[in-house]
């Protein structure tokens, strides 16, 4: 239980509401069309879609609300959980856009807060909250997919610096990012999980280059990132040497529940409505009897999963451990989402087969293709099933 009393919270809510009303720019009070363009991503070469986008970020940053849940010494808002909830609710009430979208906040921050030294926290977290640096993530490598710990990118200790060589893949927005947080091999002799470290690398350093990856759905934010004799200061090591796997596992569990997309389904138009619109009714029943049952089954599966997430979160509030259940969320949510997009294609008929413009989103066929990665990225469905088998069911390994 947080310590804030109900009265305090009430006051906080009133103040927050008034402040947002006064400070959220009028011009942003409409739906976002292109998330990637219209939201501020931060960075050394900042891009603001409109002057009001900048104004909104600046006001929120000043207030400490760019990252309301981080401590104030790192530029955060220092809000309690209950206050964070109030802020979220009040922002949602007014339809406020996030002031900034940043992997620094969602992915690097938690690692630094837990494993970084004070210098690193002061420097990097403050940069992130101020929107000054765009971070990207360098975990995967071409040879190592699910076998993340099989990574080969090496960081050799050269006395005063590390010399990094190797290649990363699936680095989102590496071509826009200023810095990358990486897993690198620092001890090639050790068992594979033990020789890995967590390193921060400047993308402008000599020897770093990137190449965008085109997906089956079209252009993508993903890149390959190459390190060719890149010198990295030793102070850029996070945590202890060869402790990288612990940090990575911590972040992966964190990421998994995000990719699971838990809760996203709530706002959506029911599939039955789409079905009725696209296929039509015949004597009160969907005109395609097979699709009718597929849609009904999907809705039942989807609703039961939504309720399961709700229940498990309720249980967590009462103190029960979530544990490896994030693997269940990740697995089931991504499989549901793939099925949904296949169904949307079936409902969409001939028109759904049109290939539309690249990079716009919202086109059925491209979206369907893109969803195929849901069950691959952030740990494949097979890996999630393995985790459930071992960590939840306690089935024996080899």
């Amino acid at each position: 239980m947080d310590t804030a009393t109900a009265t305090d919270l009430k006051t906080f809510r009133a103040e927050t509401r008034a402040w947002l009303e006064a400070n959220y720019p009028e011009s942003l009070r409409k739906p976002v069309k292109n998330q990637e363009k219209e939201v501020y991503w931060g960075g050394r070469n900042p891009y603001f879609h409109t002057p009001d986008t900048k104004l909104w970020f600046d006001r929120m940053y000043e207030k400490g609300w760019a990252v309301p849940h981080w401590p104030t010494e790192y530029g955060g808002g220092g809000l309690s959980k209950q206050e964070q909830k109030v802020l979220r609710e009040e922002m949602a009430r007014l339809g406020c856009r996030p002031p900034i979208f940043s992997f620094g906040i969602s992915m690097l921050g938690p690692a630094l807060l837990k494993f970084g030294n004070e210098h690193q926290k002061m420097k990097y977290l403050n940069e992130i909250t101020a929107g000054k640096v765009w971070w990207c993530q360098g975990y995967s490598e071409p040879g190592a997919g699910s076998d993340l710990a099989g990574l080969q990118t090496s960081a050799e200790d050269m006395g005063d610096h590390y010399l990094v060589n190797g290649q990363k893949v699936w680095t989102s927005y590496a071509d826009s990012a200023d810095m990358i947080f990486c897993l690198v091999r620092t001890d090639p002799e050790a068992p594979k999980h033990s020789g890995i470290s967590f390193l921060l690398i400047d993308m402008e350093a000599e020897g770093v280059s990137t190449r965008p990856i085109k997906l089956i759905s079209g252009k993508s934010p993903f890149c390959e990132t190459f390190f060719d004799n890149v010198k990295v200061p030793k102070e850029n090591l996070v945590g202890k040497l060869n402790q990288g796997w612990t940090i990575a596992k911590f972040l992966l569990t964190h990421e998994r529940s995000m990719i699971g997309g838990v809760g996203d389904a709530r706002k959506e138009v029911p599939l039955s409505q789409i079905a009725i619109k696209e296929v039509g009714l015949d004597d009160g029943k969907l005109a395609d009897p097979v699709l009718r049952l597929k849609v009904a089954q999907w809705m039942m599966d989807g609703m039961s999963f939504k309720l399961a997430v709700e229940r498990i979160l309720d249980e967590a509030k009462k103190g029960q451990q979530m544990g490896a259940k994030s693997s269940y969320f990740k697995y089931y949510a991504t499989e549901l989402n793939k099925d949904k997009h296949e169904l949307m294609m079936e409902l969409g008929g001939y028109d759904a087969l049109k290939w539309g413009e690249e990079y716009e989103g919202g086109k059925l066929a491209r979206d369907m293709c893109r969803t195929k990665a849901n069950s691959i990225e952030g740990g494949t469905s097979e890996v999630q099933l393995n985790i459930i088998s071992k960590r939840i069911l306690g089935l024996p390994g080899k």
Binding site: A275, S304, R311, Y332, S389, L393
Partner: protein, 375 residues
């Protein structure tokens, strides 16, 4: 409402679990079956259960019950699913008492509910007539004269019908009129009961009513007005039965996982094989989904949700699908041992097949779910 049990419900569940594990393990069902007792349940056990108040959980306090609601009753049912305990809970308490409470007048409720709550009166709904679930399609007819009513027709799949003291019989005046519900004594003249053994060893019978007399005071809910309360009572019963099925599903699953850890083949426990692991893990996910459906639907009864019918169909459909899958996978994963009558796992499959079909199977409810959602 948070999808968790309150303390009262949690206590009820725990005490039911302990009581049933002690007094009615699966072995008890085997003995009951092997004794070929046509009652299909153990009266001594039933009287212990009623002493613990199980029969009155969902019956309002004013009618001699505990007034704990259906979420509470669901916990007891779930535990009876784990032990496959045969009892009149489903027929008399879950369905009949609910129907009486929904449709009965003050006098009827006062007369019948306390007796059900203390376990001495067993009531069973005699409604189905065809081979599939068609809850409102009664061909049973009644005639009305100055002397009262006379009912004629044949009812199938009457749960615990062989031991019921009273039946709630649905009948129509003619093919166009609404459904009327009569409360009739099982011993009344013209009532004939035919029992054949069922695969779950319970007592499910065909009842023939031949010019059975009834009075106006025996009508529940008014002449021609039985359909609405019956449908609602059935929805509640679908959810309650789903709680029982959930218990069976979890128990069959838990036993299977334990077996995977224990059974050695090729020098290792068979649980190391990824082919089995992935199936087991996927079932784990669906069971989590099913748990949520059950608690949400039980709460929907207690909060008198407008979405009751949708919840009921969704829950009964999905639980039926998954229980079928889990019991089939259980036997496959047990292998030859699962095929033997000596091993208890087969009892879960047999009970599952009957429960799947009771109050509508997954086919019925998938279709109904679509219809209720307007497509």
């Amino acid at each position: 409402m948070a999808l968790v049990l309150n303390e009262e419900q949690q206590m009820l569940k725990t005490s039911a679990k302990e009581f049933l594990a002690e007094n009615a393990p699966v072995e008890a069902l085997r003995k009951l079956r092997d004794s070929k007792d046509p009652k299909g349940y153990d009266p001594a056990l039933w009287s212990q259960m009623t002493e613990l108040g199980f029969a009155g959980i969902a019956i309002p306090e004013e009618y001699g019950g505990m007034g704990f609601g259906y979420t509470g009753l669901g916990q007891v049912l779930e535990e009876t699913g784990r032990t496959l305990t045969a009892s009149p809970l489903i027929s008399s308490v879950l369905l009949s008492a609910t129907l009486i409470n929904l449709a009965g007048n003050e006098h009827q409720k006062a007369a019948l509910l306390p007796a059900i709550a203390d376990g001495n009166l067993l009531v069973s709904v005699a409604n189905e007539e065809s081979n599939a679930h068609k809850p409102l399609a009664a061909e049973t007819r009644f005639r009305k004269s100055s002397k009262g009513y006379s009912i004629t027709g044949t009812k199938k799949f009457v749960l615990e019908g062989g031991t019921a003291n009273k039946f709630i019989v649905s009948a129509k005046k003619n093919s166009k009129s609404g459904l009327t519900l009569f409360v009739v004594d099982a011993g009344a003249k013209g009532v004939k009961i035919d029992q054949t053994p069922m695969m779950d060893s319970r007592n499910i019978v065909t009842v023939t009513f031949k010019s059975v007399k009834a009075a106006a005071t025996d009508i529940l809910g008014g002449e021609g007005k039985g359909a609405a309360p019956l449908e609602k009572a059935l929805d509640i019963a679908r959810i309650g039965l789903s709680a029982e099925m959930l218990g069976s599903m979890m128990e069959a699953y838990d036993r299977t996982i334990a077996y995977l850890k224990e059974r050695q083949q090729f020098g290792v426990p068979i649980g190391v094989f990824q082919g089995l692991q992935h199936r087991a893990a996927d079932m784990y996910c669906e069971i989590e989904n099913c748990k949520s459906l059950v608690i949400k639907s039980l709460q929907a009864i207690d909060s008198d949700s407008k979405g009751l019918a949708v919840y009921a169909s969704m829950t009964k459909a999905k639980i039926s699908q998954e229980l079928k899958r889990v019991t089939n996978e259980a036997i496959q994963m047990y292998g030859g041992i699962g095929m033997t009558d000596d091993e208890e796992i087969g009892f879960f499959m047999k009970r599952a097949r009957v429960a799947q079909r009771t109050f509508g199977d997954s086919n019925y409810h998938l279709d109904r779910f679509a219809t209720l959602n307007g497509f």
